[in-house]
Amino acid sequence: MMTYIVFILSTIFVVSFVSFSSKPSPIYGGLGLIVAGGVGCGIVLNFGGSFLGLMVFLIYLGGMLVVFGYTTAMATEPYPEAWTSNKAVLGAFITGVLAELLTACYILKEDEVEVVFKFNGAGDWVIYDTGDSGFFSEEAMGIAALYSYGTWLVVVTGWSLLIGVLVIMEVTRGN
């Protein structure tokens, strides 16, 4: 099972995305996001990016999702819609899970499948040690590159975050 852990985590990732895309009440959508965040962290960890995976837990789950949970709790309705209380949500959820199951079985059965790109069964999700990165962790090198070659990217992302705050202030001011 451990060799195919990335495949399993990816499947759980897609199912949790389906769980909040089928539009239950935001509280339950937040639950799907938590599962997706945790599993996504696992996928990143399997590729050797330990720092970034733990960043997902800390900042995304521990920061943004907590704020999201609190605001949803403030704005919630008396009878929130879960996946089983509304036939439309249940139908969308079942459709999504069924599609994912069929895709997963198709991938596992055949030897070589081509959906958008060719891959050879479940074997392509196993992490091999390809690429000669030597003694350096690629992830740490990537983060270092962000602050050396990627200065413009940091400037643009920082500016976009500032604009995000200003836009939200402007939109919710309303008078």
Binding site: V116, V156, W159, S160, I163, V167, E170, V171
Partner: protein, 347 residues
């Protein structure tokens, strides 16, 4: 909106488009589009009524979906070519996804449904920015990937856009919706020529932006948003009445006005590439556009539209809006035809 905030937000809208136009890294293209989208939302919501909120929400949802499709195309390109450079060798699958995504951003048929609804719900100045500046960024990316675009997809969308822009605008009396359908039709003309001569697309875009800018400024001068109130301009500012006449004829593509330049050049380029049915179809459906422009001139400049008796006192109220760029824009949108031979500098 307070002036410092408005300045910063407009700066971000402009720099978002500049980033898309000048970058060589696909990720920065996506970032530029998202910056642009995020910053233009408060501009669309300048008036705090539910209609403007609804329009801004619709715009945000459609453009965000298009950005996601674009990202998917970028990642597929990365997978197949192994690099992030914006170049003209795209994987066909990535090219199709990017073309579809950019078509949603532009409002090409069959993804045109958001254009009239969003344009109608926002103020005239926001509609101006939406229909002119927001078209530049997607068209610049289409320009860069134009050698690898699937011709069937693009030409089908182009012909559908011109048809839907023509037929959709026929039943409208609200001026913002008319301008929205006009935008859809012009985008159709621009994408039709993209396969054969992207330079003509730039020419069409330039002249379209000048004409739409002028139209919106004339409408903003009197704050008119319906045909009925436009038909009263003979009373308020008679000069604008004759200018609307010239401008509508130019938008419809009649010689000897500037609006004829792009249509002439496009039909010429298409026939040089041995496509006969398509320019015929485009020219014939452009007549539908001309019909509703003519209806506007008919009610505004050529007849005295029915109104009640106190309307004839409107000239007593002087309009105080300063539109200093209006005269040069009007000259540019009606009198550029003799300068067409200057296109030879592009060779």
């Amino acid at each position: 909106m307070k002036p410092p905030i408005l300045t910063i937000i407009m700066l971000t809208v402009i720099s978002g488009t500049m980033i898309v136009m000048t970058t060589s890294h696909w990720l920065m293209v996506w970032i530029g589009f998202e910056m642009n989208l995020l910053a233009i939302i408060p501009i669309l919501m300048k008036k705090y009524n539910p209609r403007a909120m609804e329009a801004a929400t619709k715009y945000f949802l459609t453009q965000a979906t298009a950005s996601m499709l674009l990202m998917m195309g970028i990642i597929i390109n990365l997978l197949h070519s192994g690099q992030w450079t914006v170049s003209k060798d795209l994987n066909p699958m990535a090219s199709i996804m990017m073309t579809t995504a950019l078509a949603v951003k532009l409002g090409l048929a069959p993804f045109h449904f958001w254009v009239p609804e969003v344009t109608q719900g926002i103020s005239l100045s926001s509609g101006l920015i939406l229909l002119t500046w927001q078209k530049i960024a997607p068209l610049s990316i289409l320009y860069q990937i134009s050698p690898t675009i699937n011709p069937n997809l693009l030409l089908a969308m182009a012909i559908m856009s011109v048809m839907i822009g023509g037929w959709g605008g026929l039943n409208q009396t609200q001026l913002r919706k008319i301008m929205a359908y006009s935008s859809i039709a012009h985008m159709g003309w621009m994408t039709a020529i993209m396969m054969y001569s992207p330079t003509m697309m730039i020419l069409n875009l330039t002249i379209y932006i000048i004409m739409t800018l002028t139209t919106f400024m004339l409408l903003m001068y009197n704050s008119t948003t319906t045909t009925l109130s436009l038909s009263q301009t003979w009373n308020k500012t008679p000069l604008i009445t004759s200018l609307i006449l010239l401008l509508m004829m130019s938008l419809g593509g009649l010689p000897p006005l500037s609006g004829f330049i792009p249509k002439w050049m496009i039909i010429q380029e298409l026939t040089k590439n041995e496509m006969i049915m398509m320019p015929t179809l485009l020219a014939m459906t452009a007549l539908l556009n001309l019909y509703f422009y003519m209806r506007l001139t008919y009610t505004t400049a050529l007849t005295m539209f029915p109104s009640n008796n106190c309307m004839k006192m409107k000239w007593r109220f002087k309009c105080t809006k300063k539109m200093i760029f209006l005269p040069p824009l009007i000259v540019m949108s009606t009198m550029l035809l003799p300068l067409t031979p200057m296109l030879s500098v592009l060779d």
